[in-house]
Amino acid sequence: MSAGRSARYALAPTAAAAAALLAHMLIPNQQTALPTRLYPKLLIILMGSALVVALVQWAWRRSRPWVAHHAPLMAGAIALVGTWDLLTLKFAWFPLPYFPGPDMVLQGVLDDRVLLLESAYHSLTLLLTGYGIGVAAGLASGILIGWFQSLRYWATPVMKVIGPIPATAYIPLVMALFTSSFLSGAALIAMAVWFPMTMLTSSGILSVPVAYLDVARTLGAGKRFLIFRVAVPAAMPSIFLGLFMGLCAAFLTLIAAETVGVKSGLGWYLKWQQGYVEYAKVYGALLIMATFFSGLMTLLFKLRDWALGWQKGLIRW
């Protein structure tokens, strides 16, 4: 890539931030909102750091492909926030109180930062507890169902009947079973994770090529080796699909559980602020949630790439 072209790419975020800043300063407000300096400050910080990155890529050639790849995305994100500012605060095409501008959302997040952090922490503990239990149970039942024909006979109809019920439908049952709202939340999440985990683990085990098992048997493998050293590793791609679908189900159930019974966490915060028509804080919580969930998802994908490295070129999702 030529220096001129890469420089244009690298400067795009800076330009986008400058444009958003100018628009924010110069265009008069149509929404009646208390002006804060938070949003312009953020834009200035973004502008400054984008400029630093542009300078770095100019001095350090090897960073250029990375910058060239990410700079347009960054510029696009800044432009999106700028547009949001225009549509709400500046032109009021979207009215208050339901559509606050970026300025108000930032202020809301800053005001409630301690509560938001606590909520995120509570959500994380609940999520990981439920997900961990669900994954462990699903792995165990998936391996058993996948390997033992007789278990599969009994388990398949059961799975067919109770599997499709969304875990949130069990809320009344779970609340009767557990007195603690944390436990009932964790149980719900575990149930939601258990089903896809079981299905995909057992189908992965079932579709292990017979040739691998035959080879292992002629190498002197016993049952334990066949299950844990052949069937389970061969089923790993399918198991990871189960982990991924389980995580999606866990997010859904987490938020549902927190808006119903659990008195803490991001879902609870969301519902609570909605009750006070504090939409700036609702959006703030949504933003935090998005970061939180996509962070966990990224972590899972990293784990998958590491564990399925042997499949190179075969992963398509």
Binding site: D214, V215, T218, L219, A221, V230, P233, A234, W310, G313
Partner: protein
Amino acid sequence: MVIHQRADDNPDRDPPEALGSAPATPALGSSLDIENVGKSFRAANGTVMQALSGFSLAVEAGEMVSLVGPSGCGKSTLLRLIAGLDSPTSGELRIGAELIAGPSADRGLIFQQPNLFPWLSVRRNIQAGLVARGVLAECRQDTEHFLRLVGLEAFADRYPHELSGGMAQRAALARALVNHPRILLLDEPLGALDQFTRMKMQDEVLRLWLARRTTMVLVTHDVDEAIYMSDRIVLLTPGPGRVERMIDVGLERPRYRNSPRFLELRTRILEMLHFTGGGAPEPTTR
């Protein structure tokens, strides 16, 4: 059985003694007795298919026997029976004096596809049998020996998807050999390779055989391969599989693919199989 081993005739070839210096006990082949074996399968529509019927064959310890015949004559079924992966409907199979009652590390099986475990590196694939038998700690250096023997030491930490077909098949060979099997069963092991790789691999298998004296039973569609490799060739007829003819190769080793006696034997076998050509094309067996 006398095996005419004249490695000194060919200076290009490593003396087999050097290869036989495995750290563990030298694997000596066992004899194999197949007595009146029959095997039938029930197809999905309920009809019974007779794959083998009244099949008898005695293989001496350290012998290399090829099974040649058209598709559907039960060659692969027979290997699976010897491996213990299936059990016969009638008759008996014995290794030495021992009745075969299931798979064992004593009997290695190489398939047409290498079937390496794709999630394990080449080294770990070769170690699989040692791990399965719980002897990895004692036999760790065997892995390195066999890696060298099949010329894959530079690829020890690679994954199967990074190997060529010939390399993968060599790794599969090493994986079977590390168990020091008393019998090695080869089910068209070179069938998926190109002609050049194939001829090279034939020499490698022969080298291993000369070095280790493992009894080998080789299923092949390739008459040249059968003559080049084996002490005896068993011609099979299909539906159900039976021994049609037994041919003692009797050529001295190393063998030359273009020697008159090689070609003469080749013509004879192709005539027996009705594949000499010139007539209406018969369906090929490959």
